[in-house]
Structure formats: structure tokens, C-alpha cells
């Protein structure tokens, strides 16, 4: 997947979790949590969805790498390069 595809995929998963999420003002380098009212349960949902879709196992200690949209893309790019 390309960086843009990964970005779109993450936003699509977030939209499934929070149907009221607004992405227009989203700063990709600021924590998603602060901008979209996501809590730790929501991040768990993202992790589980990534595992379901791409068989991707993300260990708990690496959850912080999903903090911002840019850090998500950076973390996932090498892991999803063959998808």
C-alpha cells in the first residue's frame, strides 16, 4: 500500500468507530486522540481491525506509535508494503 492508501484506510477505520468524526481540520502531526475524541478503547478497535484486515499483529508496547496520523503511516508503511 502507498502512504496515501494507508492514510485513507486509517481514516476509514476511524470513521467506522466514530461516525461523527470530522477530518477536515485534522492535523496529521497532532495526536488523533486530542482531535477526534478517541479513547484507549478506540485504539484497541483500530488494532483489532488491522489484525483482521491484514493479519498484522501490533504488540501493546507499540500502540503509542499509532498516536498521530503521520506516525500511523510511518509505522504501517513497511508492514503493509506487500498488501
Amino acid at each position: 500500500m502507498t502512504r496515501d492508501e494507508i492514510k485513507d484506510m486509517i481514516l476509514e477505520i476511524i470513521e467506522d468507530i466514530d461516525e461523527e468524526a470530522e477530518f477536515d481540520q485534522l492535523d496529521p502531526d497532532e495526536p488523533l486522540r486530542d482531535q477526534l475524541d478517541l479513547d484507549s478503547m478506540d485504539f484497541l478497535d483500530i488494532v483489532m481491525e488491522l489484525r483482521k484486515r491484514y493479519k498484522l499483529q501490533i504488540p501493546e508496547e507499540e500502540y503509542p506509535q499509532l498516536a498521530t496520523l503521520t506516525s500511523c503511516v510511518n509505522y504501517l508503511e513497511p508492514r503493509l508494503k506487500d498488501v
Binding site: I17, M41, L44, D45, V47, M48, R51, K52, Q57
Partner: protein, 468 residues
């Protein structure tokens, strides 16, 4: 509800969930939605665990539907259905009445800030700082500070303020001033978010909707099926023994209490000495007593509030609240609006209780103690609904023995374990491959919201295991 009889259940599943409390139900649903083949086994004839109800003389009594935090709205939408979410409604009148103060509140942060300033005369900056502190507390913070120390830091010597802040939480999860402050902060902040909510249609409707959703997602449900043991071989989970059968699965999620899971279902032999040493330090929480009152058809009473925290005790004391002759009880009042399809007036009085106080009584003493408890509840309720005695046609009561009989929980606990139980529950799958636990543990994973969210957290662990 018609479920699958045990002899018609298949021989092999991806995961077997043992117990159908809200944590077990949610874990099963989440795993089925993720594509796994799930079997749910329940020893009782109905699903729900402590999220339960019973009928007497045409009345439906809710056992644990007393009010949950607003977080249930999001949780039910994400992990259950929109229909379940849409049935959540606010309980707007929460009443406190005790020798120190009497007031009515929405139990929201805004209203509590107002009350603490106007009625208790606490400085605004202190109140704001307290709320910000507890809202910022999380699981990984310092665990050595107790709730008592937290209260003394912000409201020194103010036993009235301590009571306002603590009493509802003690009823909600059995915690005391000596438990870790973070458990208080997490639970209290959940409620303070937007107030207290309930489920329109009652527990029976909720559990019915959950059962429908589980079946829709392909979960095989089997009730009256008491699991004898979880089969563990060479450090790995192989399945469960139930009745005359062994059903195979690489993963088993126990929604039995953590103590029963280790001592009875898996058996202590399956665990290392180190793990057992930690496990043996786990304290089981206290149990409850309840008195259920049904009002004769055609009779009614005025709205006196939805949830009444009442006490005749001069100050807050969790020991007093567990005493057999406690003067502290909540009244959950159910009006016709609770079940629009089955309009009725019922009242459930709930008290905290020690299992040991009730367990040792002979049948005669037990009967007398129950009668005395009912009489005390009626005396207290007369103060809020005068003439209620003459309008009641049904009285039932429950004690720690009753809770033990229906849930099988160690010492009839109604709130799982103290804080240390959470680590044991979370690490059990590192001891025995494929064995997981979900259920009330650690104070914070208790109550309806805590149980459901914990079901989701454990489902994530199980999913990770099954996909490895």
C-alpha cells in the same frame, strides 16, 4: 429464549466462552464478529450473569440495573447494536438523604461542582482542581495513594464531602476509602462525565437483544450447561469438560470469577508457584443484600427520584454499610416508564453485605434475619413514599447466599475482586496458552460499563492469540 441443547453442540470451536455475564457476552460477540467460531456456555437457565431479572406475581424485578455511566452509549453502539444504544435513557433525579445532607442531583460534573460550592461551601478552585486530578487518573499511575488520602488532600476533615463523593461508588463497586485512589478516579470520572443512565425496557429486553445479536453473528449458545473443568494439557488449553462431553477449542475464555477459574475450572496444577503466590493475595470483594418490592396493580406513587442514596448512619463508613443491620441502602425506583410495554411500579433496595455474616446462619436464624432486613427497608422507604406498605403486593429478598447460588461466585461477591485481581486476570494467558479470563476484577473492570469494555479488551487478546 430457545438455545442449542448441549447434545446438539458441535465437537470443536475456535473459542469457548464459559459464562454469560456482560463481559462474557461481549467477548463472544466481538470474537464472532471478527470471524471466529464461538460457543457460549452458561450454567444458569438464562444469560446475563448478574445483569439479570426475575418475575414474581406479574412484576419484573431488575437485580443490577441501577444506573451506569454515559460511556455505555458509545460502548453499546460500537460493540453491540444501534438499537441497544438507542434504548439508553438518563436517570435525572439522584437523591442523597443522610444525617449530614439531603439533596437532589443529576450526578454530573457540572451539578457536583455547583453543589460542592453552594451547599458545601468548598472553594471553586479546589473543586476544579479535584475534578481535573481524578479525570486525569489512569491505570498506569501511582497505585499507592488511597482514596482516603486523596480526599484528605483536597477536602481535609470534611467527612460530609467525603460521603457525597464516596457513598455512591461504594454501592457501585464495593470499594472503600482504603482502595487505590486511581480506582476511585477512573470510576467516579466515568459517572461525572454526563450523569447516570439506564436501559429502557429493563434488563430482560437488553439481554434478549444481546442474545439475538449473538445468534445473528453465529454464536452457538447453550444454557443450563455447567462446565466441570477447563481441559489443560502441557500448558495449553484444549477445551472444556461439560456434562458427559469434552468440547475442543484452542482458546477458552472464562467468565467465571477469577478465583473459581483458577481454583476449580483450570485447577491450581495448571499454574506456576509464582503465579499462584500472586493469585493467593487476591481479595474477593463483598457481596450484597437486596429487597424487591412490587406495587399492586392500579396503585401508584409520585416521582420521588430514580436512585436514592439513603443512610441513618452519622458518617460514611464502608464497614457500617456492610453490616447486617446497616442503616445505609439505595432505593432504585422503577416507574411505568422503565418498561413502557409492561408498565409497573417496583422498588429495589440494595445494601452491601459480608458473605460470612450470612453464610453461617441456620435456617431459622437466616429466615429471621431476612425478615428483619425487609422490615428495616420498609421503615426507611416509608420516609420517602408514605403509605407504601399498604400498596405492596409482592416482597422478595436476596442475601449473599442468594448471589452465591445464582452466580457461583466465591463468597457470593457481587463486585469481583479488589485491584490486585486485575493483573492476575490479565496475565493468565501468559501462564496457560489459550486460557483467558473476563469478569469483574480490579474494581475498575466492574459494573455494566466496566464488564462490557473488559470483554472487548480480552476479545482483542484472544483474537491476537487465534491469529498467531
Amino acid at each position: 429464549m430457545a438455545f442449542t441443547p448441549l447434545d446438539k453442540v458441535g465437537d470443536r470451536f475456535d473459542v469457548i466462552v464459559v459464562g454469560s455475564g456482560l463481559g462474557g457476552l461481549t467477548c463472544a460477540n466481538r470474537l464472532a464478529r471478527a470471524g471466529h467460531h464461538v460457543l457460549l456456555l452458561e450454567h444458569h437457565t438464562r444469560l446475563g450473569g448478574l445483569a439479570t431479572w426475575f418475575t414474581r406475581n406479574g412484576h419484573i424485578f431488575d437485580v443490577s440495573l441501577h444506573g451506569f455511566p454515559y460511556g455505555m452509549v458509545k460502548t453499546c453502539r460500537k460493540y453491540w447494536t444501534k438499537e441497544i444504544r438507542d434504548a439508553i435513557v438518563q436517570l435525572k433525579n439522584i437523591v442523597f438523604d443522610n444525617p449530614q445532607f439531603s439533596l437532589t442531583t443529576t450526578f454530573s460534573r457540572e451539578d457536583f461542582v455547583r453543589i460542592l460550592r453552594q451547599e458545601f461551601g468548598v472553594d471553586r478552585a479546589v473543586v476544579e482542581r479535584f475534578f481535573t486530578t481524578v479525570a486525569g487518573m489512569n491505570f498506569y499511575d501511582d497505585r499507592t495513594m488511597t482514596t482516603r488520602e486523596l480526599f484528605e488532600e483536597f477536602f481535609p476533615g470534611r467527612s460530609d464531602v467525603h460521603r457525597l463523593l464516596m457513598e455512591p461508588i461504594t454501592y457501585a463497586n464495593g470499594s472503600t476509602l482504603d482502595d487505590p485512589a486511581i480506582t476511585y478516579g477512573i470510576v467516579f470520572s466515568n459517572f461525572m462525565n454526563r450523569g447516570v443512565y439506564t436501559f429502557e425496557g429493563g434488563t430482560d429486553r437488553l439481554i434478549g437483544m444481546m442474545a439475538d445479536e449473538l445468534r445473528k453473528n453465529g454464536v452457538t449458545i447453550c444454557t443450563s450447561a455447567r462446565v466441570d473443568r477447563i481441559v489443560v494439557e502441557k500448558g495449553r488449553t484444549r477445551g472444556v469438560a461439560v456434562g458427559e462431553r469434552v468440547i475442543a477449542a484452542p482458546a477458552v475464555v472464562s467468565n467465571a470469577g477469577i478465583t473459581n477459574t483458577i481454583d476449580k475450572l483450570a485447577g491450581r496444577d495448571a499454574f506456576s508457584d509464582d503465579f499462584l503466590a500472586g493469585f493467593d493475595r487476591v481479595q474477593v470483594n463483598n457481596s450484597s443484600c437486596q429487597v424487591y418490592l412490587g406495587i399492586r396493580k392500579g396503585e401508584s406513587f409520585d416521582d420521588v427520584g430514580d436512585l436514592l442514596f439513603t443512610s441513618t448512619s452519622p458518617e460514611f463508613s464502608s464497614e457500617e454499610m456492610r453490616d447486617m443491620e446497616t442503616g445505609s441502602r439505595t432505593f432504585s425506583v422503577y416507574y411505568p416508564r422503565t418498561r413502557p410495554d409492561h408498565p409497573d411500579y417496583t422498588v429495589v433496595a440494595s445494601m452491601n453485605a459480608n458473605y460470612e455474616d450470612w453464610a453461617g446462619l441456620d435456617e431459622e436464624a437466616y429466615g429471621r434475619a431476612k425478615e428483619a432486613m425487609v422490615a428495616r427497608c420498609l421503615d426507611d422507604l416509608e420516609r420517602y413514599i408514605p403509605g407504601i406498605r399498604g400498596r405492596i403486593d409482592t416482597i422478595e429478598s436476596a442475601t449473599p447466599r442468594t448471589f452465591h447460588r445464582y452466580t457461583l461466585h466465591t463468597r457470593g461477591t457481587s463486585f469481583g475482586t479488589k485491584f490486585e485481581g486485575l493483573d492476575i486476570s490479565r496475565s493468565i494467558f501468559r501462564e496457560v496458552g489459550g486460557l483467558f479470563h473476563v469478569g469483574s476484577v480490579g474494581i475498575i473492570m466492574s459494573g455494566w460499563l466496566g464488564a462490557i469494555n473488559y470483554g472487548v479488551i480480552v476479545a482483542n487478546d484472544v483474537d491476537a492469540f487465534l491469529r498467531t
